[in-house]
Amino acid sequence: MTRWFGAGHSTLTDPAAAGAAAAEAAFEGREPVLAFVFCSVGYHVPEMLDEVRTRVGPETVIVGCTTSGQMTTGQAGGDGVAVVALGGEGFDVRTRIARSVTPRLREAGAEIAGCLDEVSSPHRVLLMMADGLTGNQHEMVRGAFSVVGAAAPLVGGCAGDDLTYVRTYQFYGGRDGVEILTDVAMGIALGSDAPLGVGMAHGWRKQGDAMVVTRSRDGRVFELDGEPALDVLLRRLGLDESALDDMAAFRDRIFLHPLGMSRRSGEDIRVIHGADPSDRSVLCLADVPQGALTWFMESDHDALLDGARESAAQALDGLDGHQALGLLAFDCAGRRTVLGDEGVQQEIGVIGKELGDVPYGGFYTNGEIARLRGSLGMHHFTLVTLALA
């Protein structure tokens, strides 16, 4: 059977109907090896998954999660169900799950990475999907890297709940049943006879002078260049103390000015999601190591769209000239917020233009995973893509 990649989307409100419609569009009657189900929060998930299950084979792996938005070929949006699937010869899929991961992210990362060993295809990748509210997810990537090593890339994203930060769910199973879980990490080892390409770009650029993180702990930055981080942030953005009175408005404002950390491969983005006036610290979604060189970042609409193009292009580039079959996308929920509805349509237009008629699909995440070079692999405000040939 020839290799195929399909993506289907439905915005029907009835969970069963939406699940059926998205699955049918993605499968087109074919039996998938691996089916991803991404859906917005609020669906009655078991009914939706039942419809997906009736359309797969006995060996099909079903994984997925709740999101902060879905995208499929030509479509993107907040509400709905997306089913992304692949099948045919030359794909090998193994999975592993780790439960109750919050207190043991590193161990969980190592645990789920174990499935990669069971795949012996010439081209391999470890897809990782996890609860997006578990804390320092970099530890999970570290754990996975300690097992997988440099030989295979790590790609994936963390489940979302439409940016409400209350609870996310993960789906794990097959035709005979799909578990609906929370606080888990899932490893999906994907082996392929044909090359796999990974792309990663964000479209942000440095703004102003570099700063050294002189004091921080995990995601909390206390000092930049020896000065209270919040003072630096307010000054750089031209805000006064009264901006802190309305924390929600302040958060919207600083959302557009993440911190960037200098990496060999470019800048790694850290979303600032709050500030603590009591100790003058600023709070980032992922760790900002003490000693790092950092900038405030800025972007504009066109640059963000260009990031999407860049990510897709990198992924296609990784296929060593092979024809692309499809593309999996893990796009930051923050990018979607910044771009707005119209911008998101433009983004998928850009991706579509880069891919031609190659289908694609994925979701808006609470943290993107891509380890390609070096040992660091947790990202934010980034579009991570995986192209399959």
């Binding site: 300690s146 090593g149 002189t214 003490q290 000693g291 060189l293 660091l376």
Partner: protein, 577 residues
């Protein structure tokens, strides 16, 4: 491009240095180094072998390196060519910190950073080694110290009293042995507390323990630095006075008694006790057993106690004979009880108004196997002391009850008086014994009067009131025996639930009572009448005394002139008469 940063190095040092052991330090080091330098592979090599690896399996890296950390590049399946960089760590080359990166070799700045990290790792490992050696030593030292302490504690427990902290008999005898060997005069004070038992009984054991600890403190304060105080057990203490003759020891003993006589604050109230002290001194070089010396002091203390509370007695050799007699008496009393050598005699109580027999008082007698009678005064104190009085008292109660029941068949108004000792009164089972006697012989409680001596009652008036109240609840009558010989507090007398005063015969010393004699007795009788107590005058030996007592209005009389104590079978006829 990575950036040299002292902060990164500081953070690196903190992370590596805070590791508890060498293995986790090297693990953290190569992880952080590969992250900072964004290398795919990190490793720590020791003796040319990969000890810990990051991003690749150790054995694979070992094979790829071929034992040479200086290798410039390595190739691995599924990966681009990896550029290797390494730096030695440790002042004496303990190993190599290695990173390997795909695509791009380390820049000179990055190599410098790697060098600095390796140095840091070396320093951290040295520190960890020192610290863990120190930690091991500390643990070892702590273990040894704990063992020593436990040993000392166990020795201390055997040789020191946990309640008072004073040496025990064991340690005291050891020290004493050492002192008497020296040849200088050494005095041993044997201290026994007076009324301690009453405190223990009335305030409870915790109060008793508290009191003993306070007593120990007072004893300590009376001693010179070289002297030794000890608790021998119960309420007995001993003191060793070195280089002290018997004459010099007496004032010390008196000071001790004075100190103990001062009130003790126990559970918010002042408790008064006393002490009796016996002294034994060793003053020549002749060998003496320390146990014997302490025993002598004990004998002297016993004598002091016999003479009354708060006395000091110095041991004299003849006291041994007395002590020996005491020992014999104790075993004889036990045998007497077992073999039924006790018997009861009865002395009537005569109503002075009409000469009728109102009742009989049961009096215990000891008839030895050789036929000799032993007077109660000669054995009751000893029985009180060794506790046999409880058994004897119980026997008396039942025997007298049985006899009274027999008499009451023909003389239904006959009353029975039974003497109760101090120890019996404090025995929690005594009231039950009385009840048993009443039911066993179907005696109405009002037909029985329990006699208690004044000294027993006044020793612990508050406790006595409580116990007498219990007895009164049975319905029996209570009498104060030998009234006037102790130091009755009139206020207590008023509060004691008694029915009868037995006026001691000491009040009528003259065959012809003098005006003074009569004045005193009249006062007592009138007081008794005011308190609604029946009066019994003891020891009427002449007709003149009888007439005088009748005139004074005494209710009942007892004495040889009226009727001598007699065996029950012989008493039957005069009583019946």
């Amino acid at each position: 491009m990575n950036h040299w940063s002292t902060h990164q190095l500081t953070e690196f040092f903190a992370a590596v240095g805070s590791s508890q052991d060498e293995r986790s330090a090297t693990m953290v080091a190569m992880e952080r180094a590969s992250e900072v330098l964004e290398a795919e592979v990190g490793a720590v090599l020791v003796d040319g072998r990969v000890e810990v690896a990051w991003g690749i399996r150790g054995d694979e890296l070992d094979a790829a390196l071929g034992g040479d950390p200086g290798t410039a590049t390595i190739g691995m399946a599924g990966n681009d060519e990896l550029f290797v960089a390494s730096a030695r760590f440790g002042s004496k080359h303990r190993g190599d910190l290695l990173v390997a990166r795909a695509g791009e070799p380390l820049s000179p700045e990055e190599r410098q950073l790697l060098q600095a990290m390796a140095q840091t790792l070396g320093l951290a490992l040295d520190n960890i080694k020192l610290l863990s050696a120190e930690r091991r030593q500390r643990v070892e030292r702590e273990r040894e110290a704990a063992e020593r302490l436990a040993l000392l504690e166990s020795l201390r427990e055997a040789r020191h009293d946990s309640l008072t902290g004073l040496p025990t008999r064991v340690l005291f005898l050891e020290v004493l042995e050492e002192k008497v060997r020296g040849g200088t005069p050494t005095s041993v004070l044997f201290i026994d507390l007076d009324r301690f038992k009453a405190v223990n009984d009335s305030l409870g054991h915790r109060a008793g323990d508290d009191l003993l600890a306070h007593v120990a403190d007072r004893i300590r304060h009376c001693l010179r630095p070289g002297d030794v105080g000890a608790r021998l057990g119960g309420d007995e203490f001993a003191v060793l006075l070195h280089d002290t003759t018997a004459d010099e020891a007496v004032p010390v003993a008196q000071r001790l008694i004075e100190a103990i006589r001062r009130p003790f604050p126990i559970f918010g109230r002042d408790v008064f006790i006393g002490a009796s002290v016996g002294i034994a001194t060793h003053c020549d070089t002749a060998p003496v057993d320390p146990g014997d010396l302490l025993g002598n002091a004990d004998v002297a203390m016993y004598k002091a106690k016999k003479e009354g509370t708060g006395k000091v007695v110095v041991f004299a050799p003849q006291m041994h004979a007395e002590a020996l007699a005491r020992l014999t008496l104790t075993s004889d009393l036990q045998r007497a009880l077992a073999h039924g050598e006790f018997r009861l005699q009865y002395q009537p109580l005569i109503r002075l108004a009409d000469g009728a027999t109102a009742g009989v008082e049961a009096l215990v007698r000891w008839r030895r196997p050789d036929g000799r009678y032993v007077a109660p005064a000669d054995f009751v104190p000893m029985a009180e002391e060794n506790g046999l009085i409880m058994d004897i008292g119980r026997w008396v109660l039942l025997e007298a009850g049985a006899q009274a029941a027999r008499w009451r068949e023909t003389m239904p108004d006959l009353h029975l008086n039974v003497n109760v000792s101090g120890r019996q009164l404090t025995d929690p089972g005594f009231a039950a014994d009385v009840r048993l006697m009443l039911t066993e012989f179907r005696l109405p409680p009002t037909a029985v009067t329990l006699e208690l001596t004044e000294s027993v009652l006044m020793n612990d008036p508050a406790g006595a009131i409580a116990r007498l109240t219990d007895l009164k609840a049975l319905g029996v009558r209570l009498a104060v025996d030998d009234f006037g010989t102790g130091y009755s507090s009139l206020s207590y007398l008023q509060r004691l639930p008694v029915d009868e005063l037995k006026i001691d015969q000491a009040f009528i010393p003259h065959a012809e009572p003098t005006a003074e004699d009569l004045a005193v007795i009249r006062a007592v009788v009138e007081m008794a009448r005011a308190l609604r107590l029946r009066t019994v005058i003891e020891g009427i030996e002449t007709e003149a005394q009888l007439a005088a007592m009748r005139r004074l209005g005494c209710d009942l009389g007892q004495g040889f002139h009226l009727c001598r104590p007699a065996d029950p079978e012989r008493l039957l006829s005069p009583v019946a008469a």
